[in-house]
Amino acid sequence: MQRSPNGNAEPYLKLDGISKNFGKFQALCGVALAVERGELVTFLGPSGCGKTTLLRIIAGLETQETGTIVQGGKDISRLPAIRRDYGIVFQSYALFPNLTIFDNVAYGLVNRRKGRKEITARVSELLRLVGLPDSGGKYPGQLSGGQQQRIALARALATSPGLLLLDEPLSALDALERLRLRGEIRALQQRLGVTTILVTHDQEEALSMADRIVVMNHGRVEQVGSPRDVYERPATPFAADFIGKINVLPAIAVDARSFRVGDLTLAVAPVGIAAGGAARLYLRPEDIAVHVNGVAASGPNALPARVTKVEFLGAFCLVGLAPDVAGVPPLTANVARQAVDAGGFALGAQVSVDLPPSCLRVLA
């Protein structure tokens, strides 16, 4: 997790108790959040979870019913959008179609009574920065989607705002362009050190770009943490389900370090659930070790299973497993392509499966 030089300093952006309703629909419900200076935070969640509403509230484009926003030590809760300090990029680019690329990027500069020379220099600098130095004379309609989004980014950065807001900036682009721009935006953000909030529903985008991820659902924050944190230690069942593929095992606590799943007893890292309490165990497919050709798993949570399905996905395969223990639900494991090629994964083949205790995440 990236921190400002002295970890105790006030965060750059601080939200507290933000609530918003649209009629009877509760879009946000008491959201609190702190964003450090220079960090890239993503709001991640399914559509309708309130992430875009939260971004628009930070921008002053919507008004929260309750709650405060402090940016750079200043309470901006009630300020109109035009008085706040941020640049914004939308999914639709929102470039002015009748203005050239140059005029689009210069749009916010012209209003600040800067000299023509200064503006020209700044615009060229920004166009270089986003990798489109020669596009100044063109119109937005003459550029590809990815290029237009780069220009929108340049326009948002032109006035050197303290905060950069990105509202699903890559969603309208095709897969390849999305991948490329993802890396470019992240590199640019790190180079400029601008505090950035990125709204996305794409978990891969969030995992690859963010310093920290804010997982949202139904207008509430489910978890805040680094990408690794959120992926490896999901705080809630929703966070576990929404990000990546995961196996879920309904379980009953036996004691602090073991759970029963059907006829199976699984060892886990110690948790504070009383004996007899119900919980669910979560396990990523890539954490399941599969041993074939009669080799027995050696860990404490070994169990026999049969291969029911092998789905080829390029670098690896998803292997469906039916445990030979009563009451244990089917499992899915990730197995490297080479391992599958080496044999032993024929449909119906007997295998031995290990569920490492350290990787089993227990959630009540």
């Binding site: 959008a81 063109k138 489910e222």
Partner: protein, 575 residues
Amino acid sequence: MATPAATLTAAGTGRAVKPLLHWQDRLAQGLLVVCCAALVVFLLGPLAMILVKSVQDKDGVFVGLLQFQDYFATPRLRQSIWNTLTVASIVTGITIPLAFTFAYALTRSCMPAKGLFRVVGLTPILAPSLLAAISFIQWFGNQGVLKGLLGGAQVYGALGIVISSIYATFPHALMIILTSLLLADGRLYEAAESLGTRTWRKFLTITLPGAKYGLVSAAMVVFSYTVSDFGIPKVIGGNYSVLAVDIFKQVIGQQNFNKGAVVSIVLLLPVLVAFVVDWIMQGKQQSQFSARAVPYAPKPKGWFDGLMFIYCTVVALLLLAVLGMAVYTSFIKLWPYDLSFSLRHYTYGLIDGGVIETFFNSLRMAFAAAFFGTLFIFGCAYLLEKTRGVPVLRALIRLLAAIPMGVPGMVLGLGYILFFNHPDNPLNDLYHTMTILVLSTVVHYYTSSHLTAVTALKALDSEFESVSASLKVPFYKTFHRVTVPVCLPAILDIGRYLFVNAMVTISAVVFLYAPDTRLAAVTILNLDEAGEIGAAAAMATLIVASSTVVCLLYALVTRVLLTRTQAWRKPVAAP
């Protein structure tokens, strides 16, 4: 939530946040208040006065529904209701199939000269409705060329009203049906073809359902136009009484404003019903067409294209015959005795007659209505669509903007007299001025213009204003640097629409002009009453000519704009 992260705290139920208003927000909201106030004063006020007057007697004493009882007790006035509805129904029943077939030929056949047919089909819009009446009198009147064709029947009366109204309403119906046929999804026809569907069945199961809302909408427009129109029955109606002429007779002839108000309300009802039906249909039409639809492209079919070509040629010739007769009448010495070419109707009839000034009045009025009307209507639509806050005020303005389409011109005009001629109204200086003519015309044609503006504004990215705010650029700068340039075609279209209608309108202004602000269309009426049919035709020809010039100018300017300042519309292949 099982384990909330450390940085989170539960929501405090604090006090509701009241956002601070930037002075720019205040400015926008203030302007919206002005727009709303203007609509209240110039639309709602006059209409309310009609309601008030209808329940008062001549001395302003409240008499409840006595005036209405009185009205319905008069057989001749009751007859007018029946007459009006009969004529309007017949006109609707004939115009819609005529216009549908014409539109069908334009969109679904591969006949030649489609562009020409389209232009000819729309020409009646350029002419005042009086022109049709005058022309039909020339064709079928007492001294008409084709009088014999009627076999002793009189063109003066229901027959004349019906055929003149068909001519006048044809382009309105054509435009609406054309739009709904153009919206057809080509993929549906391809799917039907792949299933081996017969042509007739495709027509019944795809074309007609697709055009259904357009047809209903066109029927309602034709019906209300005919019910509301005053010029045609005045000129060619003879003794056949209709509501619009009744209002005129009550107000101008008998100076009975209260009875006029009663007739106005009776006239308002069928038009309001048609308007509500149309409104509902338009909402349905929008949801019917998906953004992914592929335009339909007709394939050549010899016999069908030929048939359609013949049909369109006949209709086009008939339309041109109506317009042509009026123009011809204006250029001959004396119908039907001396058919030699002469400009005397223009020189002697209009200039020496001292009425040419009314043509210039019309031009002044039309330019003012086009300029100020477009400014106000587009500005108001912009504030409505693109600024924030005051939701109740916005809803009210939307409602007010929709009303004028459901109000016949005669009703609006009478409302204006009652409202602005009231001694207690501080605005009563406006009465009998050019300003009030401009105002009533803009209000009369508000709804269509407003919808054009809103459609154009809705097509813009809704985030332009958000981006501007984030860049600290005031909204009015973005309005003039981005919104207006991008919407320029729609803005010009509104201007042209207001100009053409201001040139031909007669119903609202017939109550409002003063001797020195008399308009050309009113002059036609006066000349016709005085038997000066040649001069009346000359004036009508002048109106058609000036509207044609403006439309050509519009086409030219739009084309130049599209190729020059709107270069951005043409995408160049991305590098």
